[in-house]
Each structure stands twice: as C-alpha cells, then as structure tokens.
C-alpha cells in the first residue's frame, strides 16, 4: 500500500512537471499555480522517503556504496535547485503574487536564474529518474501492469464462459 502511494505520487509529480515545464503551452497562470501546488507534493514525497534520507545521511561519511552516495548528492542538488526555481519563480511571478496582492521589484537576474536553474533541474531530474529506473520498472510492473493484465484476463475468461 505504501509503495503504491509512493508510485502514484511520483506519477502525479511527473505529470505536473510535464504540464508546468512549458508555460507557453499551459499559460503562465497554470504554470505558477501548478508549480506552487507541487511544493506540497514534493514535501509528501520527501516525507515518504524520509527513512532512506536519514539512513543515507547518517552513513554518508562512512561505508556506503558509490551509487547511494551519488544518489544522495544528486538529491541534495535537486532539492537546492528546486528551491531556487521556486524562489526565482515567486520573484518574477505574473499571476500568483499579484493575486496575493504582493508587488515585487523587477529584477532581470531572477528571470535569468529561473531559466538557468530550470534547465539544470531537467538534467538532474533525468539523472534522478535514471538512478531509480529499476525501482520505477519493478513497481510499475507489479502495481500497474500486472493488476491491469489480471483484470483483462479475468474479463476475457468471463466472456469465454458466457460465450
């Protein structure tokens, strides 16, 4: 059940990311509100993986295999980069901040930083997914494909019985 929740949350975060990453298609308002809502999903993602984070942080200096070490460094970079994206996004907000009645001074550096960190995030997210690829494939097969195939097979056998 726990893994199933983790899987569906990751699927939702991925879909939100796909929609939010192209504000020209989705519109600036959807981009900003969806990305802000994703903060909540990210907090839940971190909470669900809390034990792993604590375990690796404790063992980081000592004995831990290279992949876990790289994974941990990558996750820290993702967290920092994601946070800078959020901050720079708030600073150049055209929909969310005006809606909240907050006027921020214009500074082109925030826009540049937002673009730069977003491009970096794409690379880091690709590496993050690649490092968890075995988990993604295994869990997708176990919790999405196999139940789907099971249902299809039982529907087919019911149809055969009726025929």
């Amino acid at each position: 059940m726990f893994i199933r929740i983790k899987l569906w949350l990751d699927v939702i975060i991925f879909l939100v990311f796909l929609i939010a990453m192209d504000p020209r298609s989705s519109g600036i308002a959807i981009h900003e509100w969806l990305a802000t809502a994703a903060i909540g999903a990210l907090v839940v993602h971190l909470l669900l993986n809390w034990d792993w984070i604590v375990q690796i942080t404790r063992r980081f200096i000592g004995r831990v295999n290279a992949q876990s070490r790289i994974n941990h460094i990558l996750n820290r970079l993702l967290f920092m980069d994601g946070t800078v994206i959020m901050l720079s996004g708030f600073m150049i907000s055209e929909s969310l901040m005006p809606f909240l009645g907050i006027q921020l001074p214009e500074n082109f550096a925030w826009r540049e930083l937002h673009d730069m960190t977003s491009n970096l995030f794409l690379i880091l997210l690709g590496l993050h997914t690649a490092l968890h690829w075995n988990w993604v494939v295994d869990v997708t097969r176990r919790y999405i494909l196999q139940p789907m195939m099971g249902r299809l097979n039982s529907a087919k056998s019911q149809k055969d019985v009726i025929a």
């Binding site: 967290f79 946070t83 214009e106 082109f108």
Partner: protein, 38 residues
C-alpha cells in the same frame, strides 16, 4: 508527532536555501542596472 517535526525540518531547509539565494542575487545585482528590458 514525527510528521509535523519532519515537515518543519523540510520547510526550514527550503527557507535556508531561499534565504541564501535571495542574499546572493540581491548582493550581486545591487547597484547594477538589472531591470527587465521593456
């Protein structure tokens, strides 16, 4: 009781990184012309 504490740690980490980024950007751009081109 564990979860609220963990949420606070995550929010504190968010705030710390945002604070550092804010100070770095404002320090590096103060005095220079960085307004949006119109």
């Amino acid at each position: 009781m564990k979860t609220p504490g963990r949420i606070l740690i995550i929010l504190a980490a968010f705030t710390l990184v945002m604070g550092i980024a804010y100070v770095v950007v404002n320090t590096s751009t103060s005095g220079s012309s960085t307004n949006m081109p119109r």
